[in-house]
Amino acid sequence: MYECFKYALLVIVFISSSMAGVKFAANAKESLKINEGILSLILHIRRSVEYYTETLDKVYETFDNEALEEIGFLPSVLKLNNDGEVFPFCNALELYKKRLSLDEDVYSALYSFGKTLGNCCSGEQIDSCTAVAEFLEEKCSCMRRDLPKKIKLRTTLGVSCGMMIVIVLI
């Protein structure tokens, strides 16, 4: 009976560790999706300002992105904007800092961008969109390049840790 219980526990430990590895790998994918979502939001803002001189509430309303909507960032920006907050983009970034899980440099670049959003003329707005979009594009291409390695590493690490724990416990 004791032996049966012990082996069952080892199997659970092994599976849990492997699953944790898979989860961390999925997080890397999710993080890339969020960064890409924010990049396409900024490109959408730039286009809307440059060609249509739209107000930001309309800009947010006409933008769709699964990743940003799923975590609630996009609805939050729109709500804060409609509530008349002075820096709705920055406030939403602060609110969703944890869930967005952005790198510190990306977060501070976006925060500075958020301070200019809606508070300058079209020319300056387009320039600030371009600057932050270029920075994010660079970041996303790095993340895309590193993604397969990260997925492999995290999955392997999870499985190996599980195996090691099992061996130690045996």
Binding site: D57, G84, V86
Partner: protein, 302 residues
């Protein structure tokens, strides 16, 4: 409470509370209402009442307060309002007109030898003009203006804040509804005649944000109006468009700033219209609570 309540959303809480108190006091004590809210950076905020009196409020807007108000007034989208800000105003919902001024960045356009405002660096003063639809305010004048189906056209003149736009709005509403409604085109270059609930049964076409010159030309060509209504004329292009519209036989109702007819005719473009008999009546208006409709008129037929 009247329309002032909606406008408070755009202002910092402390300022809004002060105005709210004043509105409540006015409603409790008499018929005066607020027509303008003046905001100035580091200087006292003031209200202009319907009787022309200035009421100074103990609140000074800081730079942050002004930025807060501008963010709200522009829906966090300064870029979308830059064109009108350069012309000195912001359009907001409800037909309010918000005048702004500050530190302009000018460019001298080559060959034209004149300054063109390319940007407003910092906005330091805001004037929120509260649009009032006072139905029936044209009671004392409508019959005169509408003689022979408005034939000959009318130019209203008066000092800023004397109620010209309010009167024009009421005349347009009355003319475009009832038993024999007319097709009315409103050239609304500053978004002051937005779709109001009083206009739901009216035969009114609103040319919102069109320049007056272009709006008059398009209205004449495409919408077949029987009456054209246009607020605050005085520019050269507007005068030229009105001269063209005159040849189509469409009567015009318009307003202009001036305290008296002599002063009005000193303006070269108005003088041009006068010399070409564009308007058959010139009506000076001023607020007068003792009269029906709240205005007294100085009528001059040409």
């Amino acid at each position: 409470m009247r329309e002032e309540k909606n406008i408070l959303w755009y202002l910092p809480r402390a300022a809004a509370e002060l105005i709210e108190k004043k509105v409540k006091h006015s409603n409790d004590t008499g018929r005066d209402f607020i027509t303008e809210i003046h905001i100035r950076m580091s200087r006292p905020m003031s209200l202009t009442m319907s009787n022309g009196r200035n009421v100074v409020l103990p609140f000074r807007f800081s730079r942050n307060d002004i930025n807060y108000a501008i963010s709200r007034l522009t829906e966090n989208s300064l870029h979308a309002h830059m064109d009108t800000i350069k012309k000195g105003y912001i359009n907001i919902q409800g037909g309010y007109r918000v005048g702004v001024c500050g530190r302009a960045v000018c460019e001298i356009s080559m060959g034209e030898n004149e300054n063109v405002i390319s940007n407003i660096g910092e906005i330091t003063s805001i004037n929120i003009r509260i649009a009032h639809t006072i139905l029936g305010c044209s009671d004392g004048i409508y019959e005169i203006v509408s003689e022979k189906n408005f034939k000959g056209g009318t130019l209203f003149y008066g000092l800023p804040g004397s109620g010209k736009t309010t009167l024009l709005r009421d005349i347009a509403i009355r003319a475009s509804q009832g038993n024999a409604p007319l097709r009315v085109a409103i050239i609304d270059s500053r978004g002051e005649f937005q779709d109001e609930k009083e206009m739901t049964d009216c035969l009114i076409d609103i040319f919102s944000n069109y320049s007056k010159a272009i709006g008059i030309e398009i209205a004449t060509r495409t919408m077949a109006p029987e009456l054209i209504v246009c607020d605050e004329i005085g520019g050269y292009d507007e005068a030229r468009s009105m001269l063209s519209a005159q040849n189509t036989g469409i009567p015009l109702l318009a307003t202009a700033h001036a305290s008296c007819l002599e002063e009005l005719l000193q303006r070269p473009n108005i003088k041009l219209l006068y010399e070409h008999n564009i308007f058959s009546k010139y009506i000076g208006i001023r607020r007068d609570d003792s009269q029906t409709g709240g205005f007294s008129f100085d009528i001059r037929r040409i």
